[in-house]
Symmetry: C2
Subunit: 380 residues, 2 copies
């Protein structure tokens, strides 16, 4: 698929489901040695669980502040590591303010990325990559605030400066990408991506400086490319990656990184994806791969008409997922019913052959492309 | 969750997505040394890909016969390993007949389980388990025809006769279970389970004899228990297991195997699950865990009524998945509309608190249990 030798570094199988405990533990262990016994973080994501888990290992107290509407699964998972969870405010900024308040009361604030010790901890991934695969050519890394790629690039390049390190961000949350390209901290106000794990408004000054010095390039992928990567990792890799965790694979699959003939490591940085979202990504993946299609047409509103359609589908051995048969749409000619079916097919070409067969029998249906499907509903 | 130390043997991450290449390769390699250059199998499942992949490694020809309506993904995957795929007949028995015809033409038939060399190949899993975890107490293994558990139990018990080996079958396909319990080959005519990878009508005479001698017990799990195990492996383990591959985990989670305080290995035998089925299992898993609920009630068919319901849901911070608002149901009192919502909630108790709040405001909705949900639709 890529004409390259691609290895996956599976941080989704790491404790807590992401790479986060590496940096959190190292930074907190150093502070613990200095006498700190209470840590605080503001996060409803992987960082929360990383800090909670690290505190548990150290035997320290962790308080995690999350916005009030944080997903309950994240709250429960974080509490599961023994951390205290405070739900505060509507937004992440509110939670952050609350966390700073706790710092005044004596807690140590663990930054998710803009901290040299956190960066050093994430760097252990780079050491492991070089240890396992000394002759690697390219390492591709998801980027949010830049802590992960900073640590990896320092570790990898100190061992072998010829290895290329490429970062990947989502198009809908390109703060580190823009900052890297423009050479100054850029804040992105509007963020819109399924890759919530890297949906960060601004990278750190420390991480930006390291990325500018050591990272060879940062590229962007869109949510469709991310969803396809998650789908491929599931179906072929038998692995659950969260959207942010699949960024590197998405960049390689969509040709955003030149890997031809090379030995490439894609860091799969996490696997904490909401199960409802995963189900949605699977259904979308089946559409993007042309293995589920939607077809639509009008039928005379008489007994036996739908059967004629269903018969053809059965002749082709295809599986019907849903049928919508609407006779009450006031926009449709009276006496006709609007019918839309979702069908599992081998591929889009096979679906077109089936439509030809329907046509032969006088039934005019069309294949809906995702755009058309939205348009047919008046959504643009 | 189990009061035990549970290890997973991840054959879903094996080449071709299941343990099958182990046995196929060893059996075929022996025949290849004797001069055989053409192998045939009748299978649309994991065995097909195991034989195809083994033939590719050996540089031999493989012909795989599948029934005409075999899933196209299986056909493509098998062809992807260089095998010739023949689609023949309506059922597996038809495909088997065709395969025997090819044997007359000179091909060697690779049996999926009732073959000592195939069994020996699967046994390598047992050797690896003992090597990695010499002090294991119990090994739990999915059972279809019995090849996998036969190989594992020979290997494990020859190294350490004190290790218990427990088999697991689905309630809907209990042929090996019944044969094991009754001490003779029992054929099950009607098979009904989501665990298609072990949906076998009858075990082999060789595997039955080995199981009777070495396997300590075989237990049954139902499809709900299997679905929950697949869901748990996905959400917590970040791993895709096919339903048959999750049997051992299902048995441990549902308390069918006594593991308390023990060191247990669950063999996750494969990960080749149809992606549509996986999406369905996720949705079902969310229901079984009480994290998605359906509620249903009647509202006066006047503007603003639905908003009152939606407002309460928003107050609780819950997420609406679907709304069905039907005013045309002739069974419902005129002037009323029937409304059913699917909602993401933290748990069933939280959903009940929300229903209490609706009640306070004079809106009577009820929580639908899966059975009721079917009943409400006249399905029993």
């Amino acid at each position: 698929m890529t004409s390259a030798e691609v290895y996956l570094k599976l941080e989704n199988l790491q404790k807590t489901g992401s790479f986060k405990p590496r940096g959190a533990y190292y930074a907190m262990w150093k502070k613990f040695k200095e006498g700190v016994r209470w840590f605080v973080a503001a996060s409803s994501g992987n960082h929360a669980q990383g800090v909670a888990y690290a505190a548990k290992l150290l035997g320290a107290k962790a308080t995690i502040v999350m916005p009030k509407y944080a997903p309950i699964t994240k709250v429960v998972a974080t509490q599961g590591y023994g951390a205290e969870v405070i739900l505060h405010g509507e937004t992440f900024d509110d939670a952050y303010e609350k966390a700073l308040q706790l710092v005044e009361e004596g807690a140590y604030f663990v930054h998710p990325f803009n901290d040299y010790d956190v960066i050093a901890g994430q760097g252990t991934i780079g050491l492991e990559i070089i240890e396992d695969l000394p002759n690697v050519d390219v390492v591709v890394v998801p980027v949010g605030g830049g802590g992960l790629i900073s640590g990896i690039s320092i570790a990898v390049k100190s061992r072998n400066p010829h290895v290329k390190v490429i970062g990947v961000q989502p198009k809908g949350a390109p703060a580190a990408y823009l900052s890297y390209k423009e050479g100054k901290l850029v804040k992105v106000e509007r963020i819109n991506t399924i890759a919530d794990g890297v949906a960060i408004k601004r990278p750190g000054d420390k991480t930006l400086a390291i990325m500018r010095e050591l990272v060879d390039d940062i590229v962007l992928v869109d949510d469709f490319e991310i969803a396809r990567a998650v789908f491929l990792l599931l179906e072929r890799g038998k692995l659950v990656a969260e959207p942010a965790g699949a960024l590197a694979v998405a960049a390689i699959l969509s040709g955003k990184v030149d890997v031809k003939g090379k030995r490439v490591v894609a860091v799969v940085s996490g696997g904490n994806v909401d199960m409802s979202l995963l189900a949605t990504i699977i259904r979308r993946g089946l559409f993007l791969e042309g293995r589920n299609v939607r077809i639509r047409g009008l039928l005379p509103d008489r007994p036996g008409q739908l059967k004629r359609v269903v018969d053809v589908i059965a002749e082709f051995g295809f599986n019907i997922v849903t049928i919508e048969h609407v006779r009450s749409n006031p926009l449709v000619h009276p006496g006709m019913a609007e019918v839309e079916l979702e069908i599992e097919v081998p591929n889009r070409e096979a679906a077109l052959r089936m439509l030809d067969k329907l046509k032969e029998r006088g039934i005019m249906f069309k294949l809906l492309h995702p755009g058309e499907w939205l348009e047919a509903r008046g959504v643009h």
